[in-house]
């Protein structure tokens, strides 16, 4: 995304307030062609910045974009001077938006590049806690993380004595370790924090309590209280126990703490009355994640929000498709981490809601809340 002038179409970089070409007050952020030519490179050996001092030598370059501007950027080791490159924009450990020049075509083990890895949250070699593997999404995610080369996957399980479908296959996965964890129980969270709190590089909260029902189709607040307990207070307790240790390890060596992942219903953005009270608790969880972004700001830990529509599980059984398969959701989460995204919409429903939300949030709200009348 760069600024483009609505009057003369000139692309501006670095960001500014008026067009530097025609002075029109009509700059807007647009996706632009990411291609360019790598003009010149340098390898830095010293820096006044303590973060970079620990990471020297560090290669950067200057790239002439096909779209016009010249950009100073981090350089992937396979991006060569004189060659064509493809620019990728990400936030760095400080939260600053930056560019990295990548080779135009995929190269072997491209994701392992030191500079690129600083900008992504690739689970490879990292230790990951998945908070709830009773649910098929948590299981699919754990399998995906193992496939992606995670150093260790901690499998969060509440009430261990209670069997669940898929347990034996899950426990047989390599590089995994069972982690007793009940998000509704502060002692359980504290116990787990004291044993693995300093070892978690990525925390993915998959625990969700989603039940049908709106305010007037339910008769009391008991279920709503459970929803808040799991969907809001659970992540809050997690943040208060695991958060501080992760925040302090955001630039800790090669495999630092990198991501705090919230798996959220897309109806956190706009209420869908069919699951209206669950959606309300998801909205609270979304707001909590934004608060967490502030807590983690500048620490090197990214807060990643994964939005999904109805999952193809027992609690959404009466709903017609499309529903997102747990396998697809798990793969989407791993993909978002590998790409260093801070927000990702997974599945057809989530993508549809995203599009409508971006276009007009008020209209989306109206359409969702009137949907029942149109059935």
């Amino acid at each position: 995304m760069l600024q483009r002038c609505g009057a003369c179409q000139t692309i501006a970089y670095p960001p500014r307030d008026l067009c530097g070409c025609c002075w029109a007050d009509s700059l807007s952020w647009v996706e632009i062609d990411a291609g360019g030519v790598f003009l010149a490179e340098t390898t830095l050996h010293t820096s006044t910045n303590v973060y970079f001092r620990e990471r020297m030598p560090w290669r950067i370059g200057v790239i002439k974009l096909d779209a016009g501007p010249t950009i100073i950027a981090h350089a992937h080791a396979d991006a060569k001077e004189g060659a064509r490159v493809c620019m990728l924009a990400r936030t760095d450990k400080s939260g600053q938006g930056v560019f990295i020049a990548l080779p135009e075509r995929e190269t072997p083990n491209m994701a392992d590049d030191k500079a690129l890895r600083e900008l992504t949250c690739d689970p490879k070699h990292r230790r990951v806690l998945v908070t709830d593997v009773r649910h098929p999404t948590g299981q699919a995610l754990a399998r995906g993380l193992v496939r992606a080369g995670a150093g260790k996957v901690f499998l969060g399980v509440a009430e261990q004595w209670k069997p669940f479908v898929g347990r034996d296959e899950l426990y047989a996965l390599p590089n995994t370790e069972v982690a007793p964890l009940d998000l509704s129980d502060a002692d359980s969270i504290a116990d787990l924090t004291s044993s693995i709190g300093g070892k978690v590089d990525i925390l993915i909260n998959t625990a969700q309590h989603m039940r049908p029902g709106s305010a007037m189709t339910r008769r009391d607040a008991i279920t709503a209280r459970d929803e808040m307990e799991f969907n809001y207070f659970g992540p809050l307790r997690l943040l208060q126990s695991f958060g501080p240790a992760m925040r302090s390890r955001g630039a800790d060596g090669a495999n630092s703490a990198v991501a705090w992942v919230n798996v959220l219903s897309v109806f956190a953005l706009a209420n869908w009355p069919a699951y209206g009270l669950s959606a309300a608790s998801q909205a609270a969880a979304l707001s909590l994640s934004q608060c967490a972004r502030g807590d983690f700001a500048g620490s090197g830990v990214k807060v990643v929000n994964i939005f999904h529509g109805p999952i193809d599980d027992e609690w959404h059984q009466p709903l017609p498709p499309p529903k997102v398969a747990p396998e697809a959701l798990g793969a989407g989460i791993v993909g978002a981490l590998q790409q260093g995204l801070e927000q990702s919409f997974i599945g057809d429903v989530a993508k549809d809601i995203e599009t409508r939300w971006r276009e007009d949030p008020a209209l989306l709200e109206r359409e969702l809340t009137l949907a029942r009348l149109m059935d």
Binding site: L39, A40, L44, H45, T46, T48, F52, I60, T70
Partner: protein, 396 residues
């Protein structure tokens, strides 16, 4: 771009006098106000003036914040009728000269003190780097070098690729300047430097190595601008301004900087001065990195574009050589006292033309060229300026 409309008015009748330097130190707890105040005191004492005689002031400093030239008037008890603040880094000296000369010609001020000074407290250089400009905050600072080394390394690399210059060629400039600095009392780097030592220095940001970089320090430089008759009355040696130019954000479409704005205006510079490059007895370039000195040698017309490497190989750049260049040692050997780095070459040129030298002296110097370059706002230096000066009245 240049020479449209009326011919630029000349700079005649104006004297540049009282070149002073507050000796540099690597680190000092003293703030910019102290350095600038000391420079003004040195000006007053060398010209035998009282503070009230100075009715114009032009200030350049990076570390005065939150003050500007305005605050300094109260701080230092001045009541000028003409005041300017020039935030142009390495171009500050020549630009100040241009502004002050016009003020004196117009009668807006009688005696203008042009002064640049900066503090260098242990943390101030780093503080300045993180907040240098909005573009650099967004587009340069996040990429690791923490300062200008990264961007100048890219510029140096591109220049080497375009014109075939080598590290040895840059070394010619640095080694000659170190030799010049050996006689400069306040130079911070006075250990002799050989080309072999230059080549063996540790890398900073390839191809920039240690001796291609200036050392940040504290210090101040200043001079006075007044009518010639006033300088004579005060018994001051002085230099004259033959011509001067400035240009900002030249060649914005060059994808990477391989030339500066001097090329846009240089024909007018030489025409107005009525001299040619061959008449110049010493050249004072802005040497934040040697590649920038090479660009100035070319873009001012001392050789063809791209031939500065051959030029420096073919000439001796020391004060006693056939092409005296940065004869006090330049910033590369004396140190870079913030915005005073943009005055260093000019103040030294006035010394050489008036005979008030502190160290090395160019024999029989009658015409000096001074150029400035400043403000790497994002990926390139935006300000360029140059002046041709001549001998006015020599010492004694």
């Amino acid at each position: 771009m240049s020479s449209v409309g009326r011919t630029r008015q000349n700079y005649s009748g104006v004297a540049l006098a009282a070149p002073v330097t507050v000796p540099y130190v690597r680190y000092s707890p003293k703030p910019a106000h102290w350095w600038i105040g000391r420079a003004l005191a040195m000006l007053a004492s060398s010209a035998k003036l009282k503070p009230a005689d100075i009715d114009g002031m032009c200030v350049s400093s990076f570390t005065l914040f939150p003050d500007t030239a305005v605050g300094l008037t109260q701080h230092l008890g001045l009541s000028p009728r003409w005041l300017d603040h020039i935030p142009m880094g390495g171009a500050s000296g020549v630009v100040a000269l241009r502004r002050a000369t016009r003020a004196v010609q117009a009668g807006d001020a009688e005696i203008v003190a042009c002064v640049a000074g900066d503090a260098n407290q242990v943390s101030s250089f780093r503080g300045m780097l993180t907040s240098f400009s909005r573009f650099s905050q967004d587009g340069a600072y996040p990429y690791g070098s923490g300062g200008p080394n990264g961007a100048f390394a890219l510029i140096t690399r591109a220049y080497m690729q375009a014109y075939g210059a080598t590290r040895e060629d840059f070394g010619q400039i640095c080694v000659a300047q170190r030799r010049n600095a050996m006689m400069t009392p306040h130079a911070l780097m006075k250990k002799p430097l050989s080309l072999a030592e230059y080549m063996d220095a540790r890398p900073i940001a390839d191809p920039v190595h240690l001796f291609d970089c200036v050392m940040p320090c504290a210090g101040a430089e200043a001079f006075l601008v007044m009518r010639e008759d006033r300088a004579v009355e005060l018994g001051l040696p002085f230099a004259r301004v033959l011509a001067a130019i400035e240009r900002h954000n030249a060649y914005p479409d060059d994808p990477i900087q391989i030339r500066g704005g001097w090329g846009v205006d240089r024909a007018e510079l030489w025409d107005q001065a009525g001299v040619a490059p061959a008449d110049v007895d010493l050249l004072q370039t802005y040497d934040d990195y040697p590649v920038i000195s090479m660009m100035q040698i070319e873009d001012l017309g001392f050789c063809e574009k791209g031939e500065a490497a051959a030029f420096v190989r073919g000439h001796s750049l020391t004060y006693d050589g056939d092409f005296p260049h940065n004869v006090s040692g330049g910033q590369l050997s004396v140190g870079q006292a913030g915005a005073a780095g943009g005055y260093l070459g000019l103040v030294e040129a006035i010394r050489q033309l008036t005979g008030e030298t502190l160290g090395a002296r160019v024999a029989n110097a009658k015409v000096a060229a001074v150029s400035g370059f400043g403000m790497i706002n994002y990926d390139r230096g935006l300000c360029s300026a140059a002046a041709l000066l001549s001998e006015g009245r020599r010492i004694g």
